[in-house]
Subunit: 212 residues, 2 copies
């Protein structure tokens, strides 16, 4: 962690410090929830005085909003890299399969919690709300692109890639709505629902998107 000492003062370039703050805030928001992203909490995450965080973010709302964007942006890039590294090997089918494997894994739980968190908090915080809407559209577009690509290679059959992307995300968000309350009874019917819906939306045979 950070040194416990009497706080030797460290001076950094504003840009660097700013991203450092946002990154720390994103970490807190992802693991503990966005309501824990406070000036004080982020400050001692960095071993710094609360006033400093307040200096970079005169309004705490912006900090929360940027923390959310930072976290979800990073997650999206890990789920669906914008440019596939190896176009020959990373087919749309393979990428989508990997996507469902990842979003079904327990590592995605904190991300589910974050989305739930942000969508609720958007009720009270307009700034956050704007960021959430942006990210929702971004995620949706990223999936749409993937579907469109797969349609061109005849892997998928889909008339309206945008609508398909929207519906796939609805299924994922619906399933992850229970992340904090999951009763075991519901687990089974839910587990593969998003994957199944995706298969029908894309004209794939059942099981085509199961992890290989």
């Amino acid at each position: 962690m950070t040194s416990r000492g009497p706080s030797k003062r460290v001076r950094k370039a504003p840009a660097e410090r700013r991203t450092e703050i946002v990154t720390a805030a994103a970490r807190v928001g992802l693991t503990e929830g966005l309501e824990c992203v406070t000036l004080r909490r982020v400050a001692d995450e960095l071993g710094v005085q609360p006033g400093l965080v307040g200096h970079y973010f005169p309004s705490a709302d912006r900090l929360v909003a940027e923390a959310f964007t930072s976290a979800t942006m990073a997650e999206l890039d890990s789920l669906l890299p914008d440019e596939p590294a190896d176009p020959g090997h990373d087919t749309p089918l393979r990428t989508l399969r990997r996507f469902f494997t990842l979003t079904s894994s327990a590592d995605f739980d904190n991300v589910s919690r974050l989305w739930l968190n942000a969508r609720h908090l958007s009720r009270y915080r307009p700034v956050l709300r704007d960021h959430v809407v942006d990210q929702e559209l971004l995620w949706c577009r990223r999936i749409e692109q993937l579907i469109t690509a797969g349609t061109r290679t005849r892997t998928f059959r889909c008339d309206d890639p945008w609508a398909a992307a929207v519906r796939i995300l609805v299924a994922i968000d619906g399933a992850s709505a229970y992340i904090n309350t999951s009763a075991d009874h519901r687990a089974a019917p839910i587990a593969h629902m998003a994957r199944t819906i995706a298969e029908t939306e894309l004209g794939l045979p059942p099981g085509a998107l199961e992890p290989s």
Copy 2:
């Protein structure tokens, strides 16, 4: 509203006062959000001192949890009355159709917000969490019963009513996750998704659940 006067003291039977408090708390939770259900807010909703609310709810957590249960319980009873008033006229198909009409209407928005709110807050509040799980199962069972009834009259064709009920609710919850952030782009593909899924789950022809 309540009188503004120097608060003539009114004494009520404990049971009555208690339900009065819970009802007021439910109203606040439904319209303003569960984080607004505070001792003070509920107290002046009733024109009463905060200490009184604290007297009936030594832990504020229970108040929030009971407010949620009260609100969702009432809503469920209005959506799917436990005993159909007229068994000859209220067929399962009709009831389900009405259910989708109501859940799609704007009057349901506050309920969607409440569920989203509660599911997120459950992350931090174990007592609320238990109540949410109970209500989730209750809503699910109520739909399962309806499906089972419709299966007996050969209206629906469905092997696993429980799984069908779960998936229908996932679709509804998925769609209502965007209640606070809805970008218009997504509105169209989402609108009828739950209804469509229900139709396929129950072996109904497309449009069978559209409002008549």
